[in-house]
């Protein structure tokens, strides 16, 4: 009975952790309960990690002489890995969040792959099923590690351009098939067959090499703007790898947590692809910029530039204003100035709402985080489906640093590459002001009919500078009136 006690405590701690993960994620269904949700999940994690040190009472006989060293190594790894990541997580800028998530995700994939490597090199798996699952988890984990690192490099700007060569997909497929073939060799040798050509450990090294190579090859050709989908895919894959290794280690907490994240990542990937009007396969296997450019029908009308101060004053005397922020706002780091302007409008009894497109920013929901960081209360932030009908009854739509997500061609022009994409109906507002650096096109490289509409005015300039002028104009007005 007493010998069972550590096992019992570990089992209970893992059970509690699995429950707290599910409950914590469930509390993410509202911004009000979400902070306590992540805290609960955190408690679950701490409990599981502390309890896992009780494994020292039941280590393999072969590991017994190394136990003291192993415990020391474990503590160093925990403190070093956890400490560094904690500090980086506390310091990273909100605009750099996508690449940070990619990095942490790659770490998880690498950890799953490394666990599989220990099992494989130590020849610890029992039976064909366990070995097969170990290899599968290793493959997915390693792909997730190297793929996430490439995604990080692209988002961070280390790798600037998508790297594509002729026959890329054939090379990718060959790398994957080779990895699978080597997995077959390892499986064959471990189940009693004579090792083929090389010793089994050598094959294991080749197997991991090929898996890592495939992750790199698969991610390199994908453009930087598609990285959000890629991060989400790798998040799901890491979850899957963790779940599979959980099966190998006979740890239900890992199985459950991994599979929950796998399903969550899959759902998020599909949602994002839908918001970008593309299939997941299209994101992974082709490149948006490569699509042949359709000839567009000539857009009637002309661009009407106006002064920032005039636009600011017009909004001051409007009844209802909806703001459509895009990544250009974050690029100009003008979120704080924008909220300052919004508070001035609110003080003048103008009703202001924010309309956020699902793919505004460099990962889904990033614009919401950036607005929240600037202090914008979340009850002022509305998602596409909740606010789109409001534009028709709105006096002014202020579009800042957004382009494709307000392009009416998505509704009307069948030949457009963005046709069918859900857009914010800013063009339906009585008056539209578009803050833009210049006359350039959006990411999709197509003209925007909204800008040429009779109700649209262009305010050219850096978002930060434009907002400063708007604020000054409205403040000046207040002083004159008083």
């Amino acid at each position: 009975m007493l010998a069972n006690l550590p096992q019992l405590i570990i089992g209970l701690a893992d059970l509690v952790a699995a429950f707290l993960f599910l409950y914590g994620l469930q509390r993410m269904s509202s911004p009000a309960t979400a902070p306590s949700g992540i805290l609960m999940a955190g408690f679950g994690m701490v409990a599981a990690v502390l309890a896992s040190f009780l494994y020292v009472f039941s280590v393999d006989a072969a590991a017994q002489p190394h136990l003291a060293v192993n415990i020391g190594l474990a503590l160093i790894a925990l403190v070093a890995g956890g400490g560094l990541a904690w500090l980086s997580g506390k310091r990273v800028a909100m605009t750099a969040m996508p690449q940070m998530v990619a990095l942490y995700n790659g770490m998880g994939g690498g950890a799953a792959g490394a666990i599989a490597a220990v099992e494989l090199f130590g020849n610890k798996t029992q039976g064909a099923t366990q070995l097969l699952v170990t290899l599968l988890g290793a493959l997915i984990g390693a792909v997730s590690l190297s793929g996430s690192l490439i995604a990080w490099a692209k988002l961070e700007g280390v790798i600037k351009k998508p790297l594509r060569v002729r026959g890329q997909q054939i090379v990718n497929a060959a790398a994957m098939l080779a990895a699978l073939a080597v997995a077959g060799v390892i499986l064959f040798a471990s189940l009693g067959g004579a090792p083929l050509l090389l010793a089994t450990p050598t094959w294991i090294y080749i197997f991991f090499g090929l898996a890592l190579l495939f992750g790199v090859l698969m991610t390199l050709p994908i453009g930087g703007a598609d990285m959000p989908v890629v991060i989400s895919i790798y998040n799901a894959l890491t979850g899957l790898a963790v779940g599979l290794e959980g099966f190998v280690l006979q740890n239900p907490a890992l199985m459950i947590a991994g599979m929950v994240v796998g399903a969550a990542g899959l759902l998020l990937t599909l949602l994002m692809a839908k918001a970008m009007n593309r299939s997941v396969a299209n994101v992974v296997f082709t490149n948006f910029g490569d699509a042949p450019k359709q000839v567009q029908g000539a857009i009637k009308g002309s661009l009407r530039p106006v002064e920032a101060s005039d636009a600011g004053i017009a909004m001051r005397y409007a009844g209802k204003v909806i703001i459509v922020p895009g990544y250009g706002l974050a690029a100009a780091q003008a979120q704080q100035k924008l909220y300052e302007f919004v508070k001035l409008l609110q003080a003048a009894k103008v009703e202001v709402k924010f309309a956020v497109h699902p793919v505004a920013g460099r990962m889904p929901g990033q614009m919401d985080v950036l607005l929240a960081e600037a202090g914008v209360p979340y009850d002022m932030i509305f998602q596409l489906e909740d606010i789109n009908d409001d534009f028709a009854t709105t006096d002014v739509a202020l579009v800042i640093g957004a382009n494709d997500v307000v392009n009416p061609a998505a509704r009307t022009e069948k030949s457009s590459p963005i046709f069918g994409m859900p857009i914010l109906n800013a063009d339906k507002a009585k008056q539209v002001y578009v803050v833009k650096r210049g006359e350039g096109k959006g990411y999709a490289g197509i003209q925007n009919g909204l800008f040429y509409g009779d109700n649209c005015n262009m305010v050219y300039g850096d978002a930060q500078a434009v907002l400063v002028k708007m604020i000054e104009a409205v403040r000046g007005l207040g002083a004159a009136a008083a």
Partner: protein, 120 residues
């Protein structure tokens, strides 16, 4: 009493199936406004892999296994700690209009806001 765990064959498949279903349903209820913290939060959850790393490292019986096990714990701990830190930071930023305005750029105030939201 026997506290051993046997997750084989169909039992394992049922666990996977139920977990995947739970994940799909739970995440389906998360509003789009929280999709970034959700992604980093679910990223944090698979940081539980650190527990597997600890198991592998503690049972390592050769230098090679010790090195790889060390890497597993190092990376797993990074995944968990980093995922938690960024998620907590982001969620602390979300507040309602009737919340008392706080200096948003001071992270030291994050805890106060977490507390405020919890008591709502």
């Amino acid at each position: 009493m026997d506290f051993s765990i046997a997750m084989t064959g169909f039992v394992a498949l049922y666990v996977f199936m139920l977990a995947a279903f739970a994940g799909w349903v739970i995440i389906g209820h998360v509003p789009a406004i929280l999709h970034t913290p959700l992604m980093s939060g679910s990223n944090f959850v698979h940081g539980i892999v650190v527990v597997g790393g600890l198991y592998a490292l503690l049972n390592a019986s050769a230098t090679q296994q010790q090195v790889i096990g060390f890497v597993a714990v190092l990376l797993g701990a990074g995944n968990a700690a980093g995922g938690f830190a960024v998620t907590q930071r982001m969620l602390a930023m979300f507040q309602t209009s009737d919340a008392k305005p706080m200096p948003h750029h001071l992270h030291g105030h994050a805890h106060a806001r977490v507390h405020h939201l919890k008591t709502r």
